[in-house]
C-alpha cells in the first residue's frame, strides 16, 4: 500500500532517489569485489600480451600473441590442461558416488548414527596442507607409511612394498583429495535425502513399490538438484586445487595442474607474460564449463517449477 502510493504520486526524481537508496547498501561490496577480482584479471590480460620476464627486466615489451602460442605449443602447459580435467572430473565423480552411497547408509536410524556422521565429517576438517602432508608421509611413504605397514602385517617379511606416489602419482593425489571431498558431497546429499517427502514414499511402499523402484523413481529425481549443486560447487573448488599437488608431488611426475603450472611459471620461472596467458586460458576454459553447468542447472530448475 505505502510503496504503491509513493511511486504513484511522486515524480521521477523521487523515484531515482529511491533507486539509489536501494543500491547504496549493495555498492561497497560490489565495488570491493570488482576492484579485487575484475581489475587484477584485466591486468592479467594486459600482461599476457607482454614479453615480461622478471629475470630480464630490460627486455620488457609488447609480445602480441607469442605467449598464447607458446602456451598452446608448450607440452607442459598442454599436460597441465589434461591433468586439470582428469583430476577435477575424477575427484568430483568419485566423491559424488561415494558421498551418495554413504549418505544413503546414514539416512537410516541405527545405533551410533551421529558418531558415524561425525567420523565421516572429520577428513573435511583437516587443513588441506596438513591432510596432504599426512597422506604423503604417514600413509604413502614406502618405508614407514601405514599402507606398506599394513601390507607387512598381512603378508609378513616378503610383503610387496609399492612406492605409492611414484608408481601412480596422479592417482595418489586423486585419492587424497577424494578423501577430503567425500564428506562435503555426503553432507549435501544427506540434507537432500532428509528433505524427501516421507509420506509419499511410504504411500509408494504400501502400494507395493520395491526399494529399488523407490530409489530410481523417487529418491534419485528428488536428489538430482542436490547432486547438481554438490557437483558444481565441488568442481569450483577442486579445479583450483593447489595444496595437494604442491605438497604430494610438487607438480612432478606429470601431475602439475593449471594452478600449479601458473604458480611455477610466475613464481619460479618469473615469466610473467606466459603465466598470464595461461591464466587467461584457464579463465576462458572455466567460463565455458561454468556456463554449460549453470545452463544445465537452470534448465533443471525450470523443469522443476513447471
Amino acid at each position: 500500500m505505502a510503496t504503491a502510493s509513493a511511486t504513484g504520486s511522486n515524480g521521477a526524481a523521487m523515484r531515482k532517489a529511491g533507486d539509489w537508496a536501494r543500491r547504496a547498501p549493495l555498492l561497497p561490496a560490489l565495488i570491493f569485489v570488482i576492484a579485487m577480482t575484475q581489475l587484477p584479471f584485466v591486468a592479467t590480460v594486459v600482461i599476457s600480451f607482454m614479453n615480461w620476464n622478471a629475470y630480464y627486466p630490460d627486455e620488457r615489451g609488447f609480445a602480441g600473441f607469442d605467449n598464447y602460442v607458446s602456451t598452446f605449443t608448450d607440452t607442459n602447459a598442454r599436460s597441465a590442461v589434461i591433468v586439470t580435467i582428469v583430476l577435477t572430473t575424477s575427484v568430483v565423480l568419485l566423491s559424488l558416488l561415494l558421498g551418495l552411497g554413504i549418505a544413503l547408509l546414514l539416512d537410516r536410524k541405527f545405533r551410533g548414527r551421529s558418531a558415524v556422521r561425525t567420523m565421516m565429517i572429520t577428513p573435511f576438517l583437516i587443513v588441506p596442507v596438513a591432510a596432504a602432508l599426512l597422506w604423503k608421509h604417514a600413509l604413502y611413504n614406502p618405508e614407514y607409511g601405514l599402507f606398506n605397514g599394513i601390507l607387512t602385517w598381512i603378508f609378513g617379511e616378503g610383503a610387496p612394498q609399492p612406492d605409492w606416489i611414484s608408481d601412480n602419482p596422479l592417482l595418489a593425489i586423486i585419492v587424497a583429495i577424494v578423501w577430503q571431498w567425500t564428506p562435503f558431497m555426503m553432507l549435501i546429499l544427506l540434507a537432500g535425502l532428509q528433505s524427501r517427502p516421507l509420506d509419499v514414499i511410504e504411500a509408494a511402499r504400501i502400494d507395493g513399490a520395491s526399494t529399488w523402484q523407490i530409489f530410481t523413481h523417487m529418491t534419485l529425481p528428488h536428489l538430482r538438484q542436490y547432486i547438481e549443486l554438490a557437483g558444481l560447487l565441488g568442481a569450483i573448488y577442486v579445479v583450483q586445487n593447489f595444496d595437494h599437488v604442491f605438497t604430494i608431488t610438487s607438480g612432478g611426475l606429470g601431475t602439475a595442474n593449471l594452478p600449479y603450472y601458473i604458480y611455477q611459471t610466475f613464481y619460479t620461472a618469473q615469466d610473467y607474460g606466459r603465466a598470464s596467458a595461461a591464466g587467461v586460458v584457464v579463465v576462458i576454459g572455466t567460463i565455458i564449463i561454468a556456463t554449460a553447468a549453470l545452463r544445465t542447472a537452470f534448465s533443471l530448475f525450470k523443469e522443476e517449477s513447471r
Binding site: H137, L146, I236
Partner: protein, 298 residues
C-alpha cells in the same frame, strides 16, 4: 489415507504395524539386512576417520617409533613431536592465521549483510544479475589474478603484510557470504516487514526484531565457513608472505625436513594447525552444511 491422523515421526519409514513396537527400534526391513547396513556404515566411517586417528597416534610417538615398518602401534607415548613443534616457535604464524581469519570474516559480514539486504528485502532492479555476478567471481580461479595482486603488493610495499592477506581473503569469501545471507533474508516474511512498517518501526527496530531472528543462523554459518576457508588458504599466503606475515599453512609446508626423521612432529604440527577448524566444525555440524552449500541447503 486421510483417516489416520498421526504425528509426524521424522526419519521413520515403518509400516503401520511396526509402529506399535516402539519408537527407537522401528525398522521396516528384516533385522538381518538392517544389521549388515549398520555394520557397513560403521566400517566406512572408521575407514574415513582412520587416517586422522593414525595422525593422532603418530603425533604422540617418538620419532623413532613413528617411522617403523610394521608400525609400532603400542609403542610408549611421547610428547617429543609436540615439543619439537612448539620449540620451532609456531606462535607468530598461528597468530597471523587467527588475525587473518577473524578480521577477514568480520569484514566479510560487514560488507555482505547490507549487500544481501539490497538483493532481497528491498531488491535493486537487476538483483539476479548481481547475484550471479558474485557467484561468477568464485569461478574466476585465484591464479588468474595472482600476478597483478603480487605486483601491486610489491609496488605498494604490501608484500609480507598480513593486511593484504586480510583484504584478499575478504574478497575471496564475500560472494559466499552474500549468497548465504541473501537466501536467509529472502525467508523473512513480507507480511511481517509490512506489519513492522505499519506499526511505525524504524529500520533499526525492524532489523533487530524482525530480520535478526531469521538471519542469525545464516550469519553464524557464513562466519564459520569464511573462517575455515581463510584459515586453510595456502596459495596466496605462500606467494604474498615470507617471514613476518606467514600463516600457519605456510609454516607447515616448511616443517618437513629433508634430513632425519620428522613424521611425529609433522603429525603434531598438522593436528595443532587443524585444531581450530576441527573444534569449530564439530561444534557446528549443521552450520557446516548450510555454509558449504552457500545457503541452498538449510
Amino acid at each position: 489415507m486421510s483417516t489416520t491422523t498421526r504425528p509426524q515421526a521424522p526419519g521413520s519409514s515403518a509400516t503401520p504395524g511396526d509402529r506399535l513396537a516402539g519408537r527407537t527400534f522401528t525398522h521396516q526391513k528384516p533385522p538381518r539386512s538392517h544389521m549388515l547396513l549398520t555394520v557397513l556404515a560403521w566400517v566406512v566411517g572408521l575407514l574415513f576417520v582412520l587416517p586422522v586417528l593414525w595422525m593422532v597416534l603418530t603425533s604422540f610417538h617418538s620419532e623413532t617409533d613413528a617411522a617403523t615398518n610394521p608400525p609400532s602401534v603400542f609403542a610408549p607415548l611421547s610428547l617429543e613431536g609436540y615439543q619439537t613443534f612448539f620449540e620451532a616457535n609456531p606462535w607468530p604464524p598461528l597468530l597471523n592465521s587467527l588475525t587473518a581469519a577473524v578480521l577477514s570474516t568480520t569484514l566479510v559480514l560487514v560488507l555482505a549483510f547490507p549487500a544481501a539486504y539490497a538483493l532481497s528485502i528491498r531488491p535493486v532492479k537487476a538483483w539476479t544479475d548481481v547475484l550471479f555476478f558474485f557467484l561468477s567471481t568464485k569461478m574466476l580461479p585465484v591464479v588468474a589474478g595472482i600476478l597483478p595482486l603480487y605486483l601491486f603488493a610489491q609496488k605498494a610495499h604490501l608484500l609480507d603484510n598480513i593486511w593484504w592477506l586480510i583484504v584478499l581473503y575478504t574478497s575471496m569469501n564475500l560472494p559466499i557470504a552474500i549468497w548465504m545471507l541473501r537466501s536467509f533474508l529472502a525467508e523473512v516474511p513480507v507480511e511481517m516487514l509490512e506489519a513492522a512498517q505499519v506499526d511505525g518501526a524504524g529500520l533499526a527496530r525492524t532489523l533487530k526484531d524482525v530480520i535478526a531472528p531469521v538471519v542469525m543462523p545464516g550469519i553464524a554459518s557464513a562466519a564459520l565457513i569464511c573462517f575455515i576457508f581463510s584459515w586453510n588458504e595456502l596459495l596466496l599466503a605462500r606467494v604474498l608472505t615470507s617471514t613476518v606475515a606467514a600463516t600457519a599453512p605456510v609454516f607447515l609446508t616448511g616443517f618437513v625436513t629433508s634430513q632425519g626423521l620428522f613424521l611425529a612432529k609433522v603429525c603434531a604440527a598438522s593436528l595443532v594447525v587443524s585444531l581450530p577448524v576441527l573444534v569449530a566444525g564439530f561444534a557446528a555440524q549443521d552450520k557446516l552444511v548450510q555454509g558449504l552449500s552457500m545457503g541452498a541447503v538449510k
